[in-house]
């Protein structure tokens, strides 16, 4: 009997590990394709040569690979992973399948922050568009999270309170954003609209480093709480009976999610869909066990955005289609196919 149980356990975890490695493998392939695609149609040799030996390769090829393609391809991975993790933990702590950085207004707040910077003052501060806009987006997404946090804390961190507060925040920032768009001049409006479309093209090595750093600091904090977070999905009461300080855990995770989302969104604009769908894909494949659920959410988020990045370059070769539009085009059919082929519940 004992041995039988162990065998089944090994079989289940083995299958979960298999899913993880498959998605990781596909992600690597997608990233390679991402680095290899572009209107210049460089050969694999040229690209590999430019990566391995930048000094001796053709300067134009060097610029294309190192300054245009690599930051974008890597940014797609870290931003996708960050949104995947943020969405996963948001759904976990709120026990709500609709929760995501987008649905709870964090992205809307970031959009408002960016628009505010564009309308009020980028023009006055040199080189502001590179950092003032993301800074402001970051600050406002944190403000929205803090607002939700304090409302939630006042109500013993009830799930429903957080969700409702988040949705109210979403509407508030949508209205504020609309107001700004109304007040903006033509060129400001253009800048705001393009920011909202989302774009990976503004990726630089500095920005990439910042997002990666935040991702690699925050995610381990979640995995340290992996068991507690898994238990939370049994319901607050059961989790409490297992000795977990539910309120503390929820608020702590919420802070992590906020920082992660704010950093990811502030550099690339509102790419909303990934944070909602990546966790669902992950859950359908490996279930709620955070040891697998968390990394797989990160990997599926990264994969989705990576695939979207390839798509954005291929839809109209030569131009860059806004990534925010493409993520939905890539993600929805895949998501539907999972829903339709799955037998049990999704949640």
């Amino acid at each position: 009997m004992e041995r039988e149980v162990q065998r089944v356990y090994r079989e289940i975890t083995g299958r979960k590990l298999a899913y993880l490695s498959v998605i990781a493998g596909v992600l690597i392939v997608a990233t390679l394709i991402d680095v290899l695609t572009g209107p210049a149609w460089l050969s694999i040799r040229e690209v590999v040569w430019a990566i391995l030996s930048p000094a001796t390769s053709d300067p134009t090829v060097g610029v294309i690979v190192w300054i245009i393609r690599l930051p974008v391809a890597l940014m797609a991975i870290v931003v996708g992973a960050a949104l995947g993790v943020a969405g996963a933990e948001m759904q976990t702590i709120l026990g709500n399948p609709l929760a995501s950085p987008y649905t709870l207004g964090v992205s809307a707040a970031a959009g408002f922050g960016a628009a505010l910077a564009v309308v009020l003052g980028v023009g006055v501060i040199p080189h502001a568009e590179e950092f003032l806009v993301p800074m402001n987006a970051f600050i406002f997404s944190l403000i929205s999270c803090l607002a939700i946090y304090f409302i939630a804390r006042g109500r013993q961190a009830q799930k429903e309170t957080i969700v409702l507060a988040g949705i109210a925040i979403l509407f508030l920032f949508h209205s504020l954003l609309a107001l700004l768009q109304y007040l903006a001049t033509e060129d400001q409006l253009q800048a705001v609209v393009f920011w909202l479309f989302g774009s990976l093209m503004k990726a630089t090595w500095t920005k990439l480093f910042i997002v990666s750093a935040v991702l690699f600091v925050v995610t381990p904090l979640f995995s340290r709480d992996a068991w507690k977070l898994t238990a939370l999905r049994l319901g607050d009461e059961k989790a409490r009976s297992l000795g977990i300080d539910v309120e503390r855990l929820r608020l702590k995770a919420f802070i992590g999610v906020s920082i992660l989302t704010a950093t990811a969104v502030c550099f690339v604009g509102t790419i909303g869909f990934v944070g909602l769908v990546a966790p669902h894909i992950s859950r359908m494949l490996v279930g709620e066990d955070q040891r697998y659920f968390l990394p797989l959410s990160a990997l599926s988020g990264a994969l989705l955005l990576s695939a979207a990045s390839v798509g954005s370059k291929l839809i109209v070769p030569g131009t860059v289609f806004p990534i925010g539009i493409v993520t939905s085009f890539v993600g929805v059919p895949f998501f539907f196919s999972l829903i339709l082929t799955r037998k049990g519940g999704y949640w």
Binding site: P39, A40, I68, G123, E129, T185, K202, T319
Partner: protein, 374 residues
């Protein structure tokens, strides 16, 4: 009923004519004329008109109107056409005509703030719009017509010689300034033909060209234009090959690496006063030559640009973004032709022609920088 209104109008006009200070024209009796506008609509107007509401193409209106105070008949307008949209032009005109600050605003059609009620309350004799406005506001136009205010559409967006001259002549008819309108059309035709006649016989190989709106500065690639659309169409017209022809439909940014690999012969950055991006390309009435040059130079410092043919040959130019879709687009045509075929058009001086256009047709003086090279 109509006749009653008309006779009332005549009576009114007769009363007016009793006060010479109020009626400026010699012939004050109204005459009903039917015109066909650029949207293909037949519009009946009582001419001459004494009050006008205008939503677009102010410069064309002012050029045809002429006189010491060409704003006199404007009783309402879309202030956002200038204010907040082309700030330096607005400042230039308000400096010369401070009173125009008080002209009532009727809202901007493309922002959804256009108020038919405001227009009706101003009781204009005619509303002048451009076709693009009309298409976005057909319901509003219907309401205005029901309220007894005729709407006439001009069209400078189509960018053909015919639409430009027809629009200008239509303004001449509406404003009773046919002679001046004809002068303007003749001048325009002359300026355009200088370029088109020579392009026909041009043997030069066509240079490849990349045009980008300089509104986002060097740090970010902004829109470029496709075949048949604005600057893209102009490149074609000036005997160049637009590198974005096959990739951009109307306007969109291109992938930077596409530009690097296409390696165009000529690069043109459009400029204006776009304060929302600090390092945007700056041109216009209050631009300084040295500063404009410096800003243009900063575009050539983008990653990979040092190896571009256009940059190495110094063939990077800037041109004012609002020089298209207007009667003075001949300036853009001439400058673009000169950038693309410098030898063939060496004798052409588009800047001087623009200055001449200001002197002859516009109520403000030419100033600033509207085009520049490295």
């Amino acid at each position: 009923m109509k006749r009653e209104i008309k006779s009332l109008a005549i009576i009114f006009m007769t009363i007016l004519s009793a006060f010479p200070a109020l009626g400026s024209d010699d012939d004050v009796s109204k005459e009903t004329v039917t015109v066909t506008d650029l949207a293909g609509r037949m519009v009946s107007l009582d001419l001459p008109v004494e009050s006008v509401v205008i939503t677009f193409n102010f410069e064309e209106y002012l050029a045809v109107e002429g006189g010491d105070d060409p704003f006199e008949r404007i009783t309402g307008w879309t202030r956002n056409y200038w204010d907040g949209r082309r700030q330096w032009t607005w400042e230039k005109y308000t400096a010369a005509f401070p009173d125009i600050e008080d002209i009532p605003d009727v809202g901007y059609i493309h922002k959804g703030t256009f108020s038919t009620e405001k227009v009706l309350s101003l009781k204009p004799d005619v509303v002048i719009m451009c076709v693009v406005d009309y298409e976005a506001a057909t319901d509003d136009v219907k309401k205005l017509e029901e309220g007894g205010v005729p709407v006439v559409c001009v069209d400078y967006h189509a960018e053909t010689f015919e639409s430009h001259s027809q629009s200008t002549m239509l303004l001449g008819t509406v404003l009773g300034r046919e002679v001046r309108a004809q002068e303007l059309v003749d001048f325009y035709q002359e300026q355009v033909e200088v370029v088109t006649s020579r392009l026909e016989n041009l043997e030069d190989p066509k240079p490849t060209v990349y045009v980008e709106v300089g509104d986002k500065g060097p740090s970010e690639y902004s829109n470029t234009y496709g075949k048949d659309f604005m600057w893209g169409a102009l490149v074609d017209q000036c005997g160049g090959i637009n590198i974005a022809d096959d990739v951009v439909e109307t306007s969109a940014p291109i992938n930077p690496e596409y530009l690097l690999i296409q390696n165009p012969d000529v690069i043109i950055i459009t400029g204006s006063y776009w304060p929302s991006y600090n390092d945007s390309m700056r041109l216009g009435y209050y631009a300084e030559p040295a500063e404009s040059k410096l800003r243009l130079e900063s575009f050539t410092e983008r990653p990979g640009w040092e190896n571009l043919k256009a940059v190495r040959d110094g063939r990077v130019y800037a041109i004012h973004h609002s020089l298209s879709r207007h009667i003075y687009d001949f300036v853009a045509l001439q400058y673009m032709a000169k950038c693309l075929h410098p030898e063939e058009f060496e004798d052409l001086d588009p800047e001087e022609r623009f200055e001449e256009f200001h002197q002859r047709f516009l109520p403000v003086e030419y100033s600033g920088v509207w085009m520049t090279g490295l």
